[in-house]
Symmetry: C2
Subunit: 344 residues, 2 copies
């Protein structure tokens, strides 16, 4: 095993100084053609590659973007990751991926690691519980990262205010829920069950809010009995519908917190001998890839997942005045399929 060559070896072989080699490699300084050629040949000959750490230490950017999310397999996160990865390589950056599984300690640990790494951007993805503790934590993160020269990006979670030193890239959670609910309402449904997510989570609170606002816009009173909560799993959807049925709550449509919950709901409905969409219409959220594969194909609120990720990176990497605290909100739309039917 050969020791890997350094820039000095290249310089020696090419018969120039290390400064010249460095200049040829970064290409931002005039170098005579003959010299450039000699250096390039030496590089090829030795199969030389720069040492990224030395470069990062000397220069000051690490060319790394960090992505911090709940997990890596949930389609919601996977698609955002896809967008981030895409834009990162587009911008000649590498992409570090970390998962928290919801553990704040792990999150703290990761932010520390990213400060160590001098990541150009740290992108925190997904809804949260908006507590004072959370705000304070974020403030500490923002400070630490700023000192390390990193941009903090909140992706798919609300802004912490225009004064907060972070970029925010969200999508219109409440708006999507409003559309979805309105879609059911204008199809004639009035008894619409809302299978919510965990209480306090910004994402699901916003979806619930959109639901409420749509009902109000249609002058339908919000019946608390129709609103349930659970985690975001299929099982949760299943059980919530089971309970609703057991309690004899009447409804002709369901708006689910996300597609997993919707899938569980449809399963419970089927188990109870109810047909979707003949007896009950169902609409989901996130437009997960399996939505069109369900029977019936699930109508769902489509999110610009990948664009969310791409935008996060793009904004974080863009330099210049005021670029540290932008706020963008992306729109959603309904992907209409077969799980909703007008009430006659």
């Amino acid at each position: 095993m050969n020791k890997r060559p350094t820039i000095r070896d290249v310089a020696a072989m090419a018969g120039v100084s290390v400064a010249t080699v460095s200049r040829v490699l970064s290409g931002d300084y005039p170098v005579a053609n003959a010299t450039r050629t000699k250096v390039q040949r030496a590089v090829r000959e030795l199969d030389y590659v720069v040492n990224a750490h030395a470069r990062a230490l000397s220069g000051s950017t690490s060319n790394v973007v960090a992505l911090v999310m709940y997990d890596v397999v949930t389609p919601f996160f996977a698609f955002i990751a896809s967008g981030v990865e895409y834009q990162a390589t587009e911008s000649d950056r590498l992409c570090l991926v970390c998962t928290t599984h919801g553990d704040p300690d792990r999150e703290l640990e990761i932010v520390k690691l990213m400060r160590e790494q001098h990541a150009d951007a740290v992108i925190l993805v997904g809804g949260v519980n908006m507590t004072d503790d959370y705000r304070e934590r974020m403030y500490r993160y923002a400070k630490g990262l700023e000192d390390a020269g990193s941009r903090l990006v909140l992706c798919g979670r609300p802004s912490l205010g225009p004064d907060f030193p972070a970029i925010t890239v969200e999508y219109d959670n409440a708006g999507g829920a409003f559309s979805a609910t309105s879609h059911l309402l204008s199809s004639g449904h009035r008894r619409i069950a809302m299978l919510g997510g965990p209480i306090g989570n910004t994402t699901f609170d916003a979806r619930l809010d959109g639901y409420r606002r749509a009902l109000e816009a249609f002058r339908v009173t919000v019946d608390p009995a129709l609103i349930t909560h659970g985690d975001m799993s299929q099982d949760a959807g299943f059980r919530q519908v089971q309970r609703l049925l057991a309690e004899g709550v009447e409804f002709t449509a369901i708006f689910a917190a996300n597609d997993f919950v919707a899938a569980g709901a449809m399963r419970a409905l089927r188990a109870a001998g109810k047909s979707v969409p003949d007896d009950v219409s169902v609409i989901g959220y996130d437009d997960t890839p399996f939505a069109p594969e369900l029977t019936p194909a699930l109508t769902s609120v489509h999110l610009p997942h990948e664009e969310l990720g791409r935008t996060a990176v793009k904004l974080a990497l863009q330099r210049g005045e005021g670029s540290t605290r932008q706020h963008v909100m992306l729109g959603t739309h309904i992907a209409m399929r077969d799980s909703v039917r007008p009430l006659i």
Copy 2:
């Protein structure tokens, strides 16, 4: 914005030398308790974090594991990534994720980047076209990475031989296909269509091979008319079944290259008025999360995705003699669900 503190600042504040600070931080050298406390207080006071690049430059490990795959959203890859990420953080490593989308140039580029980064391990995931060009490319990669002190891991693709300087972690593709096909055969099916993947891809060739071997084991002659090829998409599955039907090829069961293809096949069957599993049994591969959500729930070959990822990292990080060219093969099993029915 404060400049971030360095180890010298900590040393100054604690009234000790930088060497002592370094030793307190790495904790592998005896330091008096009083001194340790002083240093730790200074660290907390200044909110100091080490500079990972300086550390990597000085020491010689970067504590980074790189994952190179086709994409990030396909469940097959996402679950492997999940395992890699898990084991990486377990081993105090960060996880760099790169995608190739099948582009060899991009792959080359990534390997170069990983040499620059001194990644502890570079994990290449997924099936490939086993050409001479490929072997040669891998050999170059292995050389370059070895010189950079990185381990090369081939994950979910065949070994390049015991002399090749890489670790291989595969799962039993042919074995899984053998089991799946045997399952259909022992349910009485004899006319089993095989909806294959792209020709030449190691993964799908192996699955096809397992199919063949199972038929032979049951003394059923392999009918080429029953074997089709396509990419691994749902559309491909749909079209392949459509064509089979149009050509009047008779079959009572389908073994699909993967679950996407199986989903497409079921759709085509339904479109043609055939019932699954009453008219045709279907079995998929990969046991994707949506498999149980299909109607009927899809029987599929379950892969140890996460374990594959975890094992890749574990082997790559384990030091010692002979640890650079191990080869492990993980087993598969059939997840039985509702898409297969015995032929009476």
